[in-house]
Symmetry: C2
Subunit: 288 residues, 2 copies
Amino acid sequence: MYVHTPTPAQQEKQSNIRSAFFISDGTAITAETLGKSLLSQFSDVEFDIQVIPYVDTPLLAREAVQRINNAYQSSNLRPLVFDTIVSDDIREIINAADAHNLDIYEGLINRIATEINHKPNPHTGMAHSRVDSDDYKARIDAVHFALDNDDGARTNHYDGADIILIGLSRSGKTPTSLYLALQYGIRAANYPLTEEDLDTSQLPRVLKPYHHKLFGLTIDTERLVRIRQERKAGSRYASLAQCQEEQRAIQAIYSHQKIPSLNVSEMSVEEIATRILQITGLKRRIGV
Amino acid sequence: MYVHTPTPAQQEKQSNIRSAFFISDGTAITAETLGKSLLSQFSDVEFDIQVIPYVDTPLLAREAVQRINNAYQSSNLRPLVFDTIVSDDIREIINAADAHNLDIYEGLINRIATEINHKPNPHTGMAHSRVDSDDYKARIDAVHFALDNDDGARTNHYDGADIILIGLSRSGKTPTSLYLALQYGIRAANYPLTEEDLDTSQLPRVLKPYHHKLFGLTIDTERLVRIRQERKAGSRYASLAQCQEEQRAIQAIYSHQKIPSLNVSEMSVEEIATRILQITGLKRRIGV
């Protein structure tokens, strides 16, 4: 183990925050996703997170090692390393750093190889759909569909929609539509229910033929008020009374029209999207 | 180990494709990202992938076990299970399935706990930024920025852009802008260089003040021709000669104006986005 004797100046600099490195010869998205998920289980510990993608030469690997060793020196805490490096040569260089390397990838790949009795074909960066693949085309088509059908911009393309998200303004419809498109190739339109739409418990005329594609997003009233106050402070639109009235009206529509809905107040975009797939049974167009 | 004696009808149904289950008490995005990345290292093996998110009750866990066991029975191949379940009780139920469980999470969390000498605080679904967080606001603001500034729609908000992607039409600018927004909270505008813009080796007037924010995307000419043929078969716009001319012109602009650029022909959206961060040194607004 490395023994470090810091100078007084270095001692002063010591932050006592442990570094965590997510390192890959590709995008590092896998290392980062897993690493963050694991570190989030230690919610009362602070980590200094550093992502180093595209470490695909011995030179770059040695530079990464230098960064790891520097982090050790300046904090006096042994860094954690999560790497998904495929090449044995590159991985060996990283393994020589003064760090606790969790060696996720190599260990798991070997266990899978043993279980399925099949050798791996090591290669980098196959986790995502490339520009020349059908999956990529499906993603891009879905993204353009979401853009063209955002915020009720058009309503004459709903025949081609996999799902139509409805809800009050700023309830998360747009980012959810785009996430569904980018991650799952799902064609999601979205339509905001405005004050005029909420006067009756009827659906707007343009939505009626697509009842089976509708999915409602809701958020808590106090959050809605806060968001609207940020946009238009002091307006009727942002008043508690107005928000309560709109919330009552939209709940009545969801309930009378039997439209599935989800309260997204406590959710991330990722959770909203995956919950929608789960509730509706909608199938991804890509990925699985 | 489970011993299965299939009936003749079952035998006929056997696909000899091994199932892989990605299971979580949250979105299952972490389990899926890691699992797919690992399985992609066995590129000549086919897997039947099943994602089961939100397994957060014993009942749902037993249903998942049933699905795993059914997969074993119908294929005669022991399924692989990648789970990121936090609760010990739920994980125990899943572990009882007739499967090879790689037990990623528990093993790694225990190793981290030992290394940092700190107990974990087990909880679910903290890997993504919630609706009420600053990170979430940054993402959403970035998504709306990308939408408002897509495809050169507006050019008077470039002061607020972190980056302005330029390139020929359909070179991946829009999905890259949205990915940068959703994943990293980066405000990316995009501007298509059209035939008129390419007449000189000068930048369009609206881009000149933002030279330092420009980043060029390029794709191979034959791919450009193919994409354009799909959109407008037989047109001059889609002809080899026209595409070659535009490619020559845009390369001249990148070169004369010293604009960093990236050939994205072989890349996924994820790779384009992470390469741009690497090349430009642009900092994420969220995530790290």
